[in-house]
Symmetry: C3
Subunit: 134 residues, 3 copies
């Protein structure tokens, strides 16, 4: 009912996790229901986004980096590095959990949708996403 | 358990889908449970927002248009028109899925809450929202 | 299956509701499942965020106040006070619902995660959060 997906992330940006997620759904043998993702971190988040054209994802990453820049003199929470406070803000502006219906044994994503883990830190690390199926 | 709502959207902005959603809940005869919406698009999103005063929704739309303007020289993903990349960014900043409890056979919305489909493109089109009830 | 948590909020900002939420989960005796929160307001929202260092939460609050300032000449919806329209915008940029898996009878939050009610108005008031367990 609940699985844990682990991702070794190597850089800031969007990581497509659609395939790993589809595997969890198929192996569970769920025909119709709901798949809920939850990310156990506050400097990475979840996103449903355009999966076709990589330029859309690059623009999205750049846009958010411009909205929430590093080294803003405004920040007081700087002990963990210049990318830490922007990472928390970016996570707050995006999603910690997302729910996707399952139909005919597959995630019912739209034609152009993919599921992404959005890593907001630079340094490589391990990220955990819980997957609840019902 | 899963229904599909289809909306023919004619313009950019917030479309109240509360009535259609309430109908799905009532027809399902669900007394108590959870209603989860998922939008199958990446240039439209879902929003719970103030339903009473239309000026709040207009200001919200205008504010987001100012934060994410069209024709930003920054964008490289421009092939699908000047409103496409802003639409993806706006969708990323708002919700792809939202869950609302059902109590006594009705969506347990607050007194001033409505459920909206937020269309981020200008051109008319058909949008699909999946509704999962449990 | 559905509980209502009520909070008497006294000021704008993040209010940690993790303890109240954990109590609901424990009293329900749910061993494994999903906990979904829904806030019945459009000028307050829900957030999963860093629970360890209060400076991260202060920076987050200040950053959002700078992005969505009061008294923007742009607003037309001003009848309910200068903090009302910013509150609706902030709620739209954050979450109305969030789902957290339950494992071994506890909310499966990450090591540094807390659950917050984000009050966007200044004046004290009562806020209601519905908790659905399955």
């Amino acid at each position: 009912m609940i699985s844990t997906l682990t991702f070794d992330v190597t850089r800031q940006g969007l990581l497509d996790i659609s395939a790993e997620l589809s595997t969890v759904v198929r192996e569970a043998g769920l025909e119709e229901g709901l798949c809920t993702l939850f990310i156990q971190h506050t400097s990475a988040s979840l996103l449903i986004q355009e999966s076709y054209d990589p330029s859309a994802r690059r623009d999205l990453e750049s846009w958010l980096n411009r909205l929430v820049p590093e080294n803003d003199p405004f920040y007081t929470h700087t002990l963990e590095g210049p990318d830490d406070m922007p990472a928390h803000i970016k996570a707050a502006l995006t999603a910690s959990s997302v729910s996707i219906p399952v139909i005919a044994g597959e995630l019912a994503l739209g034609a152009w949708q993919g599921v992404y883990l959005w890593e907001h830190r630079h340094k490589p690390g391990r990220r955990r996403v819980l997957v609840h199926l019902t």
